[in-house]
Amino acid sequence: MSPKALKSISIAAISAAMAFTLSGCSAGDTTAETPAQAAETSVADGDMLRGQTLALTCSGCHAGAGDAIPDYYALDRATLEVRLLTYKTEEDGTTVMHRLMRGYGEADIAAVAAYLTAPGEG
């Protein structure tokens, strides 16, 4: 496994991203910064494979589609993960993403976020 894929996130990063997500910004905003990383969590090969498989669904709509559907490539891992978790847990959410993310467990959401934001452009 490439060390580059061992992208780290921290509790601080999640907190920052959560505040960002819940502050009412539009889904198209992509400017959240990940703070310095503290408690590192790495991603196992198996999770990356799982993330790769799960992420096939995402690319049916995302990337290159214009303003109405955001491009996840522009997000960092913590921001993406928290945004997806927020969709999953917001009980009164009615968007397509709310309805979709309720079908995914937290480990799968983490795997997708890790996979989609891993370095590795060809």
Binding site: S2, D45, T53, G64, D67, T94, G122
Partner: protein, 424 residues
């Protein structure tokens, strides 16, 4: 940002990252498997592109008789005069550009034992893996009176192309005060909410261009996809131009007479000025000839990799499959294509494909600038696809201002993305 095969969602692993680490192994590079795909729609074209990307050393051949594909999603806008047919058409240059061999011929037959496909020209193409994405064909005669010649009078327009244009021309030629009748079959059929999107947009056309006219939907069902949302929209926008008659009210059409422009139910006979007969369907013709379709006319598959349960080394994806509750949609076909390509790549690499989670999203226009959506999330564990409880569902009823317009904008963005990803 522009999708390209260089993006990490297809190239990760091959590009030296950890995402699919073993695929870059020399064994695969030398193996040069022969992968053949039949059918160049949302399923087949995407399969070709993703197999070529996951396995650059593979020989990838797409067999498709049409020089360009005419997409069904958004074709209801063409019927309503809101979009050109050209905007629905996609060529295969994007596939050829990444080294896919595109054969402009039809696949006549397959010999699963010899692993060869026979073309219309009589030539054969051999394969290690064959993916069939044949879409649907009409079950001519399953609805009494509806044969191929009837379709030139009462178009189905359920395969986009000349049929789409024919229905559009008939609506344009109809005098104001006319009656349009649409017949809808029982499931399974391609695009479950498609008839009702079409009805919405035809009703819009009548309301704005031929206000003394109306549309009657004769339905073989009592409930239908996105039903509550369509019924809400119809009551709001088209109360004088659209009437839906379900099975319980004798809406099921049992025979048609193209000479008399008549459609008969158990209870009544309706005369139409324009008749859009959406007939019973089956997997594309080649599926039965190859032996991958069962007695239902559709193709049973292993949902983990979409391999046929009836023939070895053959995979079936898209509308032709038995994949319920996953619907027969372009989104589903495109996702099944990508999953099939990835699992084939992993299998050729000696790995065992594992179950995953799949999803579908379909948008339907209810007005020219408003859409509704349905989503589903599915597990493919245990040999079958099943909906994951508590997930998926419809757009909200009685929405806040802007919700329908926002989903219409999403629909347009989705169409742009999925066609770009599929055709390049």
């Amino acid at each position: 940002m522009t999708w390209s095969p260089k993006r990490r969602d297809v190239l990760a692993g091959l590009a030296g990252t950890a995402a699919l680490p073993l695929l870059a192994s020399p064994a695969i590079a030398k193996a040069q498997p022969k992968v053949v795909i039949v059918g160049g729609g949302f399923g087949g074209a995407a399969t070709a592109r993703f197999v070529k990307t996951y396995l650059p050393g593979a020989s990838v051949t797409l067999i498709e008789p049409q020089a360009c594909y005419t997409a069904c999603p958004f074709s209801n806008l063409v019927i309503a005069g809101l979009r050109s047919l050209e905007a629905q058409q996609f060529g295969y240059e994007g596939l050829k550009a990444i080294g896919i061999n595109v054969i402009g011929d039809r696949a006549d037959d397959v010999d699963p034992a010899a692993r060869t496909v026979t073309l219309g020209s009589g030539d054969t193409v051999s394969y290690d893996k064959l993916i069939l994405s044949p879409g649907i064909d009409i079950r001519w005669g399953a609805l009494e009176g509806y044969d191929e010649s009837a379709a030139s009078v009462m178009p189905h327009a359920w395969k986009a192309g000349p049929q789409t244009s024919l229905l559009r021309q008939q609506l344009e030629a109809m005098s104001d005060g006319g009656t349009v009748i649409m017949s809808v079959p029982t499931a399974p059929y391609r695009c479950p909410p498609g008839p009702y999107e079409r009805a919405s947009l035809i009703a819009h056309y009548l309301k704005t261009q031929k206000p003394a006219s109306r549309l009657i939907i004769l339905d073989a069902k009592d409930e239908f996809s996105k039903g509550p949302l369509f019924l809400e929209a119809w009551a709001e926008h088209y109360p004088d131009h659209l009437e839906w008659i379900g099975a319980s009210d004798f809406g099921r059409v049992i025979s048609v007479d193209p000479g008399a422009m008549a459609l008969s139910t158990d209870f009544d006979t309706y005369e139409a000025d324009v008749a859009n007969v959406i007939p019973p369907q089956k997997a594309g013709e080649i599926a039965a000839r190859v032996g991958v379709a069962d007695q239902t006319g559709w193709c049973p598959i292993d949902p983990v990799d979409f391999s046929s349960t009836l023939q070895p080394n053959i995979y079936v994806i898209g509308d032709a499959t038995i994949a319920a509750p996953m619907p027969k949609s372009a989104f589903s076909a495109n996702l099944q294509a990508k999953l099939c390509a990835l699992q084939i790549a992993r299998e050729l690499n000696g790995e065992t494909p594992a179950p995953t989670i799949l999803a579908n999203t379909c948008y339907s226009y209810v007005t020219p600038d408003g859409a509704v959506s349905i989503t589903g999330v599915y597990s493919n564990e245990g040999g079958q696809l099943s909906s994951i409880e508590g997930s998926g569902g419809l757009s909200p009823a009685n929405p806040a201002p802007g919700v329908r317009a926002a989903e219409a904008a999403e629909a347009e963005a989705w169409f742009q993305q999925i066609t770009q990803q599929t055709f390049g």
